[in-house]
Symmetry: C2
Subunit: 361 residues, 2 copies
């Protein structure tokens, strides 16, 4: 077994989920991730915890969902999750388009039926991570070996040092009122984050971590953004997305490719036309776009904004939490001809933060 | 997908477990059985039931068990099974000796900790079956394709016709008092089955099915048996097993190979020296020994006897149920120079039953 797999497992078991003797642990993974699941079983055995492994082979979901419309909440799965202390979800694919012939309506109905299970899961100690399977390398347009290096470089880090480093940006944003993001001639957007907490993601619930994020005040967003990186939604790619905001609402939108899908997202509900998240990517081992939001949103020298639902813990007391059925992240490259301004002061220029060497105010 | 996989799935879902709308279903299988699990998901979707798939990759068990001694009952797995209506266990292996370096003591302690989960599972509608994986073909000393033919010939049958055919043997044994089994010069054994029900196995809980079986009255067994087929226990083979019974108890035993393992089985506890089962194999599509008791004990023209625990439903009211931590089946070839006598009348000679053509009383 590649020794990095055992290092990956140790980070999940120790740093991310802190597995203890007697913990009931669920590991949810497809067969492609068997090496990582095996390494986790070694640790769970060593620690005296109790494992159960769910097989998330996407052929099973596709077979089950292909001809159905109505669903009920599976009570046995609900009972399992309620009795669980730690939930580990490992992504890996044999074919990333395996469920491409399941209708969006069926997927939505199934997600709805399982919402209470998701809520239960999010109340546990949990971690979502990625195993570098060949199909995921293919989606990233990389060789399997290069993709393995990419994933494990991004995952196997000194996460305490990351927390310390990122906390400097949290300290800037947490008390701030206004954020302005400028990139080239195409992006100039301002928003209020007054009263909303900024969270530090250092590889606990998401592995890799590597971002700080908060929620904009919904009606405060004004300006224009051109997203440099493609939006990948429901297996389809939307490129060259541009959005214009007035009083928080998207009043104009365009895309170079698949604009209809972008329109569909924005028309999901009223909240889908408002921002639910502003995030700053700070993991510089993620140095390329791989069509996988678990990585893409943490890419160094980027910011991302999500239309739709805001996370509850990024909304301060008394502030409005944007509500929507969707949460769709989109990414702006900040590495050149760009800056982030907080309450009138530039805090990042061309990807370099003001607390880093080489910062040019 | 081989069309026989969908036929196999239909027998499991319809005949063996009778899956209905709203049923909560657990499928427990290793990745080698993914095609059969996929076919079952299609049916579960069509029927409006709710699936969850457990991954029983034996690398996980080996990793978890390799360094442990003490176990507790995993409460999340217990909660899952309690909330389940149908439990489907599919065997298939990547390596049948994967857990060969886990100690027998560890395996026993783990089984003990999971006993309440097993009991719960046996109270549900359940089915155990086999997928023809290459490693299982290897254990059977067959090509994968020949083994696929073997498994699906044994599994894909008109089980209602099997039930009817086998019920003729149930009708003989159920009211009977004494059974005598004679084969060549080496086997001549008598036992009472008075008051003990004979059960008809036609592919419900075991798939393939194909036997009728009951329990001997423990202290009634007398005589000698030479078991023609190897006993395969804890990954080791014992050949040429012979046992001598007096008043039900094994008073003498021998084996050509691995006699020590046979001794170990018999010394497990006092009940391990008494018979817990007499079974008549009636599935003539199982025409060879494959080191897999799910198949071997149903082989046509054989009988099997198990030392150790008797199944509760094969013991009549007021009769003694033999108790033991083990239940180890062993097989006698009845195809030549052999007969079964019931209350003094020959009911099978050289493998042919008295209700079949060609029977020579």
């Amino acid at each position: 077994m590649d020794p990095r797999i055992r290092e990956h497992a140790e980070i999940v078991a120790d740093h991310s989920t802190d597995i203890q003797a007697g913990d009931n642990v669920v590991i949810r993974a497809p067969p492609e991730a068997a090496d990582l699941v095996t390494a986790l079983h070694e640790l769970i055995g060593d620690y005296g915890a109790n494992p159960i492994a769910l097989d998330t082979n996407s052929r099973f979901s596709r077979a089950y969902l292909r001809a159905r419309e109505d669903f009920e909440t599976p009570e046995h799965e609900q009972a399992l999750i309620e009795a669980t202390d730690v939930y580990i979800a490992i992504r890996a694919d044999a074919n990333v388009t395996e469920t491409s012939d399941v209708s969006p309506e069926t997927n939505a109905a199934y997600s709805q039926a399982k919402q209470s299970i998701l809520d239960e899961r999010l109340s546990k100690r949990w971690c979502g991570t990625q195993y570098p399977a060949p199909a995921n390398a293919q989606l990233a347009e990389m060789s399997t070996e290069a993709y393995e290096n990419f994933v494990w470089d991004a995952v196997i880090k000194d996460w305490d040092a990351v927390r310390e480093h990122q906390s400097q940006m949290v300290d800037i944003l947490d008390p701030a009122d206004e954020v302005r993001i400028v990139s080239g001639e195409t992006t100039d957007i301002t928003m209020s984050i007054a009263g909303n907490p900024t969270l530090n993601d250092y590889g606990e619930k998401n592995l890799p971590g590597g971002e700080v994020f908060t929620a904009p005040v919904p009606d405060s967003v004004d300006g224009e953004v051109l997203f440099d990186k493609p939006l990948y939604h429901q297996g389809r790619e939307v490129t060259g997305v541009s959005l214009t905001f007035e009083d928080g609402r998207v009043v104009d939108h365009a895309a170079e490719k698949n604009e209809a899908l972008l329109t569909e997202v924005l028309e999901t509900d009223e909240g889908a036309r408002f921002l639910g998240e502003l995030g700053i990517g700070m993991n510089r081992d993620i140095d390329r776009f791989t069509y996988n939001m678990l990585f893409d949103e943490k890419m160094g020298d980027t910011v991302h904004m999500a239309v739709g639902r805001a996370y509850g813990d990024t909304v301060g007391p008394g502030n409005e939490q944007n509500q929507s059925a969707v949460h769709v992240d989109m990414i702006v490259d900040m590495s050149e001809d760009s800056y982030i301004e907080v309450d009138g002061e530039i805090v990042q220029r061309d990807g370099t933060f003001r607390f880093e060497e080489g910062f040019d105010a």
